[in-house]
């Protein structure tokens, strides 16, 4: 940590030539998503006759990660949404020159005095569940409603009738490349998804890609202060985010209380109200099944990373055990029912 503090102080000196007496202290690694190394630290410097103290977060590319993502996507998402009032940390620097910290990284504001709930507890938010739930689904609706062009967020374009196939192709490829054993439930899901395509997206939105319980910070008053982990953001069908957030995995296996916050019907109603979009039940079912498959692909990939030895972070091993089990059960149950329905 001492080495990081020293090297990061040198980086800050480079970025802030007007600053003097730069000190970096209290560097500690934290769990902040399994795709980046995340460090919390305090930076202090003299500027204009004052001592400035700023708590910061440093996100550095790992050697290998849960899922390969582009760090500039996440940084640019923070940059695009920060001025809109959506609670996201202020992004400060994006650095790709390896000379500073060996790997690319970005720096953002540290949100202090807040916590993240664990999706792997039955009641992660206690008495604040309802208050947080209202904000959680409303913020997601606002992300869906935002105009990507006006945000100035440059991402690969996609046509409304191609959102589903692009995402399905992407995650099928991950399973093809990373599966350590045959996956009959995932393969059945892929075939079902291809045979039953959803209607085209109502609009093209920014899709966060990992919007869920555990990926936001809230203060003791129950206010969401930061929506984090935009590593997988892309343009696409806003129902993708809705169904990922409502996936049973993030509600401790309880589909009727997504994210452990509000009842499902109320959650979907809040999202519709905030997004101005209407949920098509056929599309919703497709994206629900897709998201459980996407989850499986991520957990399969995590298992491959761990087994191959390219990354021995224990979170990758745990990710490939329990979430795989949940998503296999969720998908098997849904697909068996759909198979019966189709034969009836």
């Amino acid at each position: 940590m001492e080495d990081i503090a020293k090297r990061f102080a040198a980086y800050l000196a480079h970025r802030m030539p007007q600053a003097t007496n730069i000190e970096v202290s209290d560097v500690s690694r934290i769990h902040g998503g399994a795709s980046r190394e995340t460090f919390r630290l305090n930076a202090a410097w003299d500027e204009g006759g004052h001592r400035v103290v700023r708590p910061l977060i440093l996100r550095r590319d790992p050697v290998a990660s849960l899922i390969e993502t582009e760090r500039d996507l996440e940084y640019n998402a923070y940059r695009a949404f920060h001025p809109t009032g959506l609670p996201v940390p202020e992004p400060l620097y994006l650095e790709t020159d390896l000379k500073w910290l060996d790997r690319p990284f970005f720096v953002m504001e540290q949100i202090v005095g807040c916590a993240a709930g664990s999706p792997f507890t039955p009641d992660p938010y206690g008495p604040m569940a309802q208050k947080l739930g209202k904000q959680f689904w409303t913020h997601l609706g606002h992300i869906a409603a935002a105009d990507p062009d006006k945000l100035g967020l440059k991402m690969d374009p996609v046509a409304p009738d191609e959102c589903w196939s692009r995402e399905l192709d992407k995650w099928e490829k991950v399973i093809d490349e990373d599966e350590l054993c045959p996956q009959p439930v995932a393969r059945a899901a892929i075939r079902w998804l291809r045979r039953n395509p959803p209607p085209p997206a109502q609009k093209i939105s920014v899709v966060h890609g990992d919007y869920r319980s555990g990926n936001f910070l809230f203060n003791p008053e129950g206010e969401i202060k930061a929506i984090l982990d935009w590593e997988m953001c892309h343009l696409g069908d806003p129902l993708e985010d809705l169904c990922w957030a409502a996936d049973p995995l993030w509600g401790f296996d309880n589909k009727e209380l997504p994210g452990g916050m509000l009842p499902r019907a109320e959650s979907l109603r809040l999202w519709q109200e905030a997004s101005g979009l209407k949920i098509d039940p056929k599309a919703l079912r497709w994206w629900e099944i897709f998201n459980s498959l996407k989850g499986l692909a991520i957990w399969i990939s995590a298992g491959k990373e761990y087994q191959s030895g390219s990354n021995r972070d224990p979170i990758l091993a745990l990710s490939s055990i329990y979430p795989t089990d949940v998503h296999n059960r969720v998908l098997a149950k849904e697909l068996a029912a759909l198979s019966k329905e189709a034969r009836a």
């Binding site: 045959p182 009959p184 439930v185 224990p314 055990i321 098997a332 697909l335 068996a336 198979s339």
Partner: protein
């Protein structure tokens, strides 16, 4: 080996969580100890059942293949199903059982893809049996997420 492997793993996880973790500093280290302990509690669930789950699945898939081989029209697939139905598990080591489980599941995927689009009279029944097998399989492999109170 006594104590049993699952008893030891669960015991070690408890020691790590209750006795060792509180002595540690650093959020990342604490988090990692928690994740390792959780994983150990799940591996403890797996060790005792691992061979049985695979052995039972392999037997069920072989029985399913023997039945399917008599039904389906594709002679090539029918031949491979029949041959697979006659295989046996020669060892109860988990890796050996996994190896035959993988080979059988590859064939199951192929069979399911055929059954689910077939309009033949046998198709609905066979598809239903495949789903019954898969539902049983995911349930047998289910992990109970450890409760920490």
């Amino acid at each position: 080996m006594k104590p049993d492997a699952d008893v030891m793993l669960a015991g070690f996880a408890g020691t790590m969580l209750m006795d060792i973790a509180p002595q540690l500093g650093g959020e990342y280290t604490l988090g990692s100890v928690g994740i390792i302990s959780m994983s150990m509690l799940m591996v403890a669930q797996e060790v005792d059942r691992a061979a049985d789950v695979r052995y039972q699945e392999n037997a069920q898939m072989r029985a399913l293949f023997a039945e399917a081989a008599k039904l389906i029209d594709d002679k090539n697939l029918a031949g491979r199903l029949e041959a697979a139905s006659r295989t046996k598990d020669e060892s109860l080591r988990v890796r050996a059982l996994d190896s035959s489980n993988d080979a059988l599941k590859k064939l199951l995927i192929e069979l399911q893809a055929v059954a689910e689009v077939s309009k033949a009279p046998w198709a609905a029944g066979l598809e239903g049996k495949i789903w019954d097998f898969l539902l049983g399989s995911v349930e047998a492999r289910r992990f109970v997420f450890p409760s920490l109170g």
